[in-house]
């Protein structure tokens, strides 16, 4: 055992950008209605870039998926920024009713995951609480014309009027993007699906609910393999649930799942068919000085994400983000406080249900910076390499094109400085739960309640 010093890096809030390698973020676009009156169906529930970053998908509470496409602008003109415009919109899931249990199944899209592109078409998986669907998004920019038996509008011609034969030809048409459901993976989950993750083998994927994780083959819809089952024989003995799961980015046999108790289990599918026994258990001992009524709730992990290089994973609980080295199980290698000033407000946050909010987190392309959301439409960028962190805001007030985002500060107590906002002034209805980072560039998508903000790195 080597001597270990506890290395929780707590960062000083950085100043306004500064020189060197600091990235300055600018407003690029905002999508969605401007009304303050938010229609429930428009609430964004998931955001995901595809593997190239060219496409950006959002899912909402109304069961719709909207895909934006990055325009291929002339890159030589540095002032021009590639904008994201609507590419396709479709209704992925509809509300359903389970007659046996007298339960309504919400159409809200919980997660979207893109498949790596294999041909001209794009594929994504979208899921609600019970059913996963594989959607094919394809472009049509030409159509056949000159049929012998049909008119141009589709009506059949009277055979007697046909005197000549011609070969139908393809003629260009306005681009049409079609989304069609290719597979429906249903009836495999008793509890609510919280995660889906595509395997690096590009053939299988996992879906996780509160108590079970199933492994599917993308081609086969009528069966799935149960690989994790933590349901106790007696439900009264239930102490924890699965909150998120993800496949390793390179090792097709490895996946992790997080729990409501703040633990992460890494499983190897080669070890056994049923991965109830973990290969590694990642758990940090609780700090007894922080114990309260709500310790259980705030230690519940809301998201787990592998780094792109596959060496680390990141977890998000209510107040912090932790980076774990896959080779070290007893504690994270880095811990970042997202909004520590909320620790003394847990009782109010319990009353208004905010304590149950499930924040997501994401890595940038080279795993040097992580990002997560907070309240008051704030989001946090945590730079691992530079040991700096910054709080930014997604607001309609900073919506001028290429306007640089100003760092925000929250005053935890005592005298409020100029430009600081006090904790009691924070709007807890304005929460950023879903964020995504372009896989290669410094472009981020941040979802407020019903708007999607796109920010880009400032280009000089």
């Amino acid at each position: 055992m080597w001597p270990v010093t506890k290395c929780n890096w707590r960062f000083v809030v950085s100043g306004a950008g500064g020189g060197g390698n600091d990235v300055q973020w600018c407003f690029s676009q905002v999508k969605g209605a401007i009304d303050d009156d938010v229609a429930e169906a428009d609430i964004i529930s998931t955001v995901e870039f595809n593997h190239s970053g060219e496409l950006l998908a959002t899912g909402d509470k109304g069961g719709r998926v909207v895909i934006f496409q990055q325009e291929t602008e002339n890159k030589s003109q540095s002032q021009f920024r590639s904008e994201y415009n609507v590419y396709s919109t479709f209704q992925s899931h509809e509300p359903e009713f389970d007659y046996l249990k007298s339960l309504e199944i919400e159409e809200k899209i919980n997660k979207i995951r893109w498949l790596p592109q294999k041909n001209a078409a794009q594929f994504l998986l979208s899921t609600n609480d019970k059913t996963i669907k594989l959607w094919k998004i394809s472009e049509r920019d030409k159509r056949p014309e000159g049929y012998n038996l049909k008119e141009e509008d589709g009506r059949y011609r009277d055979a007697a009027t046909i005197t000549t034969l011609r070969v139908p030809v393809f003629r260009p048409m306005d681009l049409m993007v079609e989304a069609s459901p290719r597979r429906v993976f249903a009836n495999a989950h008793t509890y609510h699906i919280n995660s889906i993750s595509v395997n690096s083998d590009n053939e299988t994927y996992l879906s996780a609910d509160d108590l079970r994780i199933n492994l599917w083959h993308l081609e086969i819809t009528d069966r799935s393999f149960n690989i994790v089952d933590i349901k106790p024989a007696n439900m009264e003995e239930l102490t924890e649930v699965i909150t998120a799961a993800e496949f390793h980015p390179h090792q097709c046999n490895t996946f992790v799942y997080s729990s409501s108790k703040g633990t992460i289990r890494l499983c190897d599918m080669r070890a056994s068919a049923l991965c109830d026994k973990h290969s590694k258990l990642f758990e940090e001992p609780e700090d007894p000085s922080n114990r309260s009524f709500f310790s259980e709730i705030i230690s519940s992990i809301s998201d787990v994400k592998f780094s792109h290089n596959g060496r680390y994973m990141m977890t998000r609980d209510y107040l912090s983000v932790k980076i774990w080295d896959l080779n070290m199980e007893n504690r994270p290698v880095e811990t970042y406080q997202v909004h520590e000033y909320l620790r003394s407000k847990l009782c109010s946050l319990y009353e208004n249900d905010c304590i149950f909010d499930k924040f997501e987190c994401c890595w940038n392309g080279n795993d040097s910076v992580v990002m997560t959301g907070s309240y008051n439409n704030f989001f946090r960028m945590l730079d691992r390499s530079q040991r700096r962190d910054v709080t930014l805001e997604a607001s309609r007030e900073s919506c001028k094109p290429r306007q640089v985002l100003k760092p925000r500060r929250v005053c935890a107590g005592g005298k409020r400085k100029k430009d600081e906002i006090s904790v009691d002034s924070l709007d807890f209805n304005k929460k950023i739960l879903h964020t995504a980072w372009h896989p290669q560039e410094n472009i981020i998508a941040v979802a407020t309640t019903n708007n999607l903000y796109i920010f880009q790195e400032k280009v000089n």
Binding site: E104, E106, H192, D210, S289, S300, S344, S348, N352
Partner: protein
């Protein structure tokens, strides 16, 4: 301390009840977290009650409250009304009367032996044991002689809610 615990218990129970009517079916994760909070609050409340009863029985020098206090923030939004219907409470109470009396006697005995524990530590220990007889628990403020139903927290159907899922 016990006032706060009682308030959190009532709040949690009302949240558990409202979960049942929420669209999309019962959320297992949320139910679990809520029931854990109720348990933690109930244990603190119960322990505080027993301590108070013990003090009343004999003259004991006052010990300072050991548990760290959660500063009570008054939120701007009014908390949801407790959805517990008095009728329902009464019926459930009648069902569980026998089991609970036995149970509370048992708890009393144990507590008398361990007078100098930290409330939180005790709460954790009791949680593990109580998992075995989770149904039919009733928190009482007296020996069951009072008719004040409002102060009696009946066995909330959190486990039933979980099982039904």
């Amino acid at each position: 301390m016990d006032v706060e615990a009682k308030r959190i218990m009532a709040l949690s129970i009302s949240k558990l009840y409202s979960l049942r009517t929420q669209r999309g079916g019962l959320r297992l994760h949320r139910s679990l977290l809520l029931s854990m909070t109720v348990r933690a609050a109930r244990d603190i409340y119960h322990t505080a009650q027993l301590l108070r009863d013990a003090e009343e029985e004999q003259v004991v020098p006052c010990a300072p409250e050991a548990a760290p206090e959660e500063p009570m923030e008054i939120s701007k939004d009014t908390p949801k009304e407790v959805a517990v219907k008095p009728k329902e409470t009464l019926q459930e109470d009648k069902e569980n009367r026998c089991a609970s009396e036995q149970h509370s006697r048992k708890r009393r005995g144990k507590t008398a032996l361990e007078a100098d524990f930290l409330p939180l530590k005790k709460a954790k220990m009791e949680t593990d044991e109580e998992k075995q007889h989770f149904q039919g628990e009733v928190l009482r403020t007296n020996n069951g002689n009072s008719c004040r139903q409002t102060e009696t927290l009946t066995s909330f159907p959190s486990n039933r809610a979980v099982v039904a899922c």
